[in-house]
C-alpha cells in the first residue's frame, strides 16, 4: 500500500471515527440509537454556513460559535424531545430519532434550500493541500479533521475516566436505577451526552463542509459511519476508532483494487462479517447485548 493510500485510509477513518463517537456517546449512556445523527451533523455544517456569512472575516469565531451551537442543539434536542422518552421502550426512542431526522431535513430545506454551500469560500479560504511526504498530500481540512478527531477522542477518554461528570455518565450507562439512587441526576447526564454527541457531529460536519461543501446529502455520511461504530462495539469509544479504521481500510481497498462502486457496500459487508463472528462488536460489552 502506497503512502497516499495510507493517508487516505487515515482521513476516511478519522471522518467515520469522529461521527461514530457521537453514536457511542449516546448509546453508552442511554442505550438509545440516535438515527438522526447524520442530520445533526449536517445541521452543524449549515450552522457554520450561517455563521460564516455573519463573520466572514473571523473564521475562528464562526467555528467556535457553530461548535457551541452544536453542543446546545444536542442539549435542546434532549430537553425538548428525548427527555420525555426516559423510561419508555428503547424502540420508541429510536423511532423518535428517525422522526427528528426527517424534521431536521425539512427545516434545513426551509432555511437553506437545496443549494450547495461552501463556508470556506465565505472565509476566502482555499483549502490548500498539505504535503505529508513526497507525493503524499491531503487537504488542509482533512488534516485538521484528523488532528481534531485525535483531540476529541483523547478529550472524551480523559473526561469519561477522570472527571466527575464523566464518571456519572458511565454510572448512568451501567445502571441508571442505582445511579439515580446515588443522587446522580439522570436528565442532566443524558442531556450532557446528547450535547457532547451533537458537538462532535457538528465538528465533523463543519470540517467536511470546509473540505467539500455541504448539501442535504451530507446526512448520508452519518449513516456510513454507523457500521464503523457497530463494528467496534456500540458502547466503546476505542472500539469506534478501531472500527472506523477497519471500515475505512476496507473501503479504500475496494476503491483501489476491486471496484469503486463497492465503496458503498463494503462498510456493511464488514459489519455483517463482524456481527457474525462477534455480535457485540470488537470492543463491545457482551453483557449489554444480552440485556438488549
Amino acid at each position: 500500500m502506497s503512502l497516499q493510500l495510507l493517508a487516505n485510509v487515515i482521513v476516511l477513518a478519522a471522518i467515520y471515527a469522529l461521527v461514530g463517537s457521537g453514536y457511542v456517546l449516546i448509546y453508552r449512556v442511554s442505550r438509545v440509537l440516535n438515527l438522526a445523527h447524520g442530520e445533526l451533523m449536517m445541521v452543524g455544517a449549515y450552522l457554520l454556513v450561517a455563521l460564516a456569512g455573519l463573520f466572514p472575516l473571523n473564521p475562528p469565531l464562526a467555528l467556535a460559535l457553530a461548535a457551541t451551537c452544536g453542543l446546545l442543539m444536542g442539549i435542546a434536542v434532549y430537553a425538548v424531545l428525548m427527555r420525555w422518552m426516559t423510561g419508555e421502550a428503547v424502540l420508541a426512542a429510536v423511532l423518535i430519532t428517525i422522526a427528528l431526522g426527517i424534521l431536521l431535513r425539512g427545516l434545513t430545506i426551509l432555511i437553506w434550500t437545496t443549494q450547495q454551500f461552501y463556508p470556506g469560500a465565505s472565509f476566502g479560504w482555499r483549502n490548500p493541500p498539505v504535503h505529508l511526504a513526497r507525493g503524499v498530500q491531503i487537504s488542509s481540512a482533512s488534516a485538521a479533521l484528523v488532528c481534531l478527531t485525535a483531540v476529541v477522542y483523547l478529550g472524551l477518554l480523559v473526561f469519561l475516566r477522570f472527571t466527575r461528570w464523566g464518571v456519572r455518565m458511565r454510572a448512568a450507562g451501567q445502571n441508571p436505577l442505582l445511579a439515580e439512587q446515588r443522587g446522580i441526576r439522570l436528565h442532566g447526564v443524558y442531556a450532557l451526552a446528547w450535547g457532547l454527541s451533537t458537538f462532535t457531529a457538528a465538528l465533523a460536519g463543519m470540517l467536511l463542509s470546509l473540505d467539500a461543501g455541504v448539501d442535504l446529502n451530507m446526512a448520508t455520511i452519518g449513516l456510513k459511519a454507523f457500521p464503523a461504530a457497530l463494528v467496534g462495539g456500540l458502547d466503546s469509544l476505542p472500539g469506534a476508532a478501531l472500527g472506523a479504521l477497519i471500515v475505512a481500510a476496507a473501503e479504500i481497498a475496494a476503491i483501489q483494487y476491486v471496484d469503486p462502486l463497492l465503496s458503498d457496500v463494503v462498510p456493511f459487508i464488514v459489519l455483517l462479517v463482524i456481527l457474525a463472528i462477534r455480535p457485540w462488536g470488537l470492543f463491545g460489552s457482551r453483557e449489554q447485548l444480552d440485556r438488549v
Binding site: 487516505n8 482521513v11 426551509l110 437545496t114 493541500p129 473540505d211 456510513k224 476503491i255
Partner: protein, 393 residues
C-alpha cells in the same frame, strides 16, 4: 417564508408527496401538474427549475393568466424516487385530470410517469431533466416533449471533439461519472468517442454520491497519469472530483457539463484548467431577458442564485406560448397539438430558438458554449462561442 420551501418542508415532514396550487383548482383554469425532485438527492438541481417556473406562472397569473384564464400549477415532490413518482403520476393523471404534466427529476423515475401519460394521452414535458429518447425525431412519442438544455446524445460527441481540438499533445483521458443510468451511458459513449478520435482512456470511475471523501477516487485517477479529465454526471461529482484531483497535485485540464450551478462555481473554484460546456448562456452576458429574470427572481423571492433560473424560465416561456396558441377551452389534445408547433425565441439564453414539430419533440438544433475561469482577467471567459449541432433524424 418561501412557498416552495414551505412545500418541500411539508413534503419532507410527511415523507409523502403534497401538492400546492398557485390558485384555486377550478375548471376555468389551465391545470398543469408537476412531478419533481423538490427534495432528496437531486433536489439541488431540480428544485430551482420548478421554483423559477412557479415564479413565472405567478407573474402570468398576476397579469390575468393566459387567454383570460389562470394557470393552476400542482406541484408534487417525488424525492427522485420511482415509487413516489408513480404515486404522483397516478394522482395527477387520474385524480387531478391535468392538461399537461411537467417532469423534473432523475431519469430513474421516468418509467411510471411516461406510462401514465401515454395511458391518459396527456402531454408530458421534461424540464431541466434529461430528455427521454422517445422525444427525439423522427418519430417522437405523441405525448413526450423536452425543453432541457442538455442531452447526452449530443453533449458527449461535442465535448470529446472539443478536447481533441484543444489538446496540444496526445490525450490521455480519465472519465468520471456517477453510478446512475444517464451518467453511465454518457461516459460509455465518451469512451467510444475518445477511442475513435485516437485518445487513450487511462481510467474510468463511477463515484457513488454518498462518498464521504473524494480523495481515494482522485488518487486512483491520478495514478493513471491523465492529462485530461472528463466528467458527465450531477454537479457534485463533477466538481468534487476535480477539486480532489487538484489537491493531489494533478495539473491536467478538466471538462464537464456546466449544470445550473456552473457560473457560481467557476468563480469559486477560479482555476484556469476547469472548463465547462453548457447549452445555456451565463448571466455575466447581462442580456435584457436576464435583467428581466433578475427582477422576477427578486420579486418572487427566488431562493437560489438567479444563474440557476435558465431552465425554469425557458420552460415558463414555452408554456406561455403553448397555452396562448391552445386558446380556450383547453384540453390535453389541444395542448399537445400546440406543443407540436412550438417555435420559441430563447432571447439569447440559448444559441437559437427551441423548435418542436410533429416529427421532433426535442429541437431542431442543439447549441453549446464553452467557458472557463481566466485567473489573469479574474473572470469567466468564453473558450468557444455558440456551436450549433444539427439534431439528426
Amino acid at each position: 417564508m418561501r412557498s416552495t420551501a414551505a412545500l418541500t418542508f411539508a413534503a419532507a415532514l410527511s415523507a409523502a408527496s403534497l401538492g400546492f396550487s398557485a390558485g384555486t383548482h377550478a375548471q376555468d383554469a389551465y391545470v398543469i401538474g408537476v412531478t419533481a425532485a423538490m427534495t432528496g438527492p437531486a433536489a439541488g438541481t431540480q428544485a430551482p427549475v420548478i421554483e423559477m417556473l412557479r415564479i413565472y406562472v405567478d407573474r402570468l397569473n398576476v397579469k390575468g393568466g393566459i387567454n383570460g384564464h389562470r394557470i393552476n400549477l400542482l406541484v408534487e415532490d417525488d424525492q427522485a424516487e420511482p415509487s413516489k413518482a408513480a404515486a404522483n403520476a397516478t394522482k395527477l393523471f387520474r385524480q387531478e385530470n391535468v392538461m399537461l404534466v411537467i417532469d423534473s427529476s432523475l431519469s430513474s423515475t421516468y418509467g411510471p410517469v411516461i406510462a401514465e401519460a401515454r395511458r391518459a394521452k396527456v402531454p408530458l414535458l421534461f424540464a431541466g431533466a434529461i430528455c427521454p429518447k422517445e422525444s427525439h425525431p423522427p418519430k417522437p412519442d405523441p405525448v413526450l416533449f423536452c425543453s432541457t438544455g442538455f442531452d447526452f446524445g449530443y453533449d458527449i460527441p461535442v465535448a470529446i471533439d472539443a478536447i481533441k481540438d484543444a489538446a496540444k499533445e496526445p490525450v490521455k483521458i480519465a472519465m468520471i461519472g456517477m453510478p446512475i443510468p444517464i451518467s453511465r451511458i454518457g461516459i460509455e459513449m465518451a469512451q467510444k468517442q475518445a477511442e475513435k478520435l485516437g485518445m487513450t482512456t487511462v481510467d474510468t470511475e463511477f463515484i457513488p454520491p454518498t462518498a464521504a471523501d473524494y480523495t481515494p477516487f482522485a488518487t486512483k485517477i491520478k495514478e493513471g497519469e491523465p492529462n485530461w479529465g472528463f466528467a458527465y454526471s450531477p454537479w457534485q461529482t463533477e466538481v468534487r472530483t476535480f477539486e480532489a484531483l487538484r489537491r493531489l497535485g494533478w495539473g491536467g485540464t478538466y471538462l464537464c457539463y456546466g449544470h445550473i450551478q456552473a457560473e457560481e462555481e467557476l468563480k469559486r473554484i477560479a482555476d484556469g484548467g476547469f472548463n465547462v460546456f453548457s447549452a445555456n448562456a451565463l448571466f455575466q452576458d447581462n442580456l435584457p431577458v436576464q435583467q428581466e429574470m433578475r427582477q422576477a427572481a427578486a420579486d418572487g423571492k427566488y431562493s437560489y442564485p438567479v444563474s440557476y433560473a435558465d431552465e425554469g424560465w425557458i420552460t415558463g416561456r414555452a408554456i406561455e406560448q403553448i397555452l396562448t396558441k391552445t386558446g380556450w377551452p383547453a384540453d390535453a389534445d389541444k395542448i399537445a397539438e400546440a406543443m407540436s408547433h412550438l417555435d420559441l425565441d430563447t432571447q439569447g439564453l440559448r444559441g437559437g430558438p427551441l423548435v418542436w414539430t410533429a416529427e421532433n419533440h426535442f429541437r431542431t438544433k442543439q447549441y453549446y458554449r464553452f467557458y472557463r475561469y481566466d485567473p489573469e482577467q479574474k473572470s469567466i471567459v468564453r473558450v468557444r462561442d455558440w456551436l450549433a449541432v444539427d439534431v439528426v433524424n
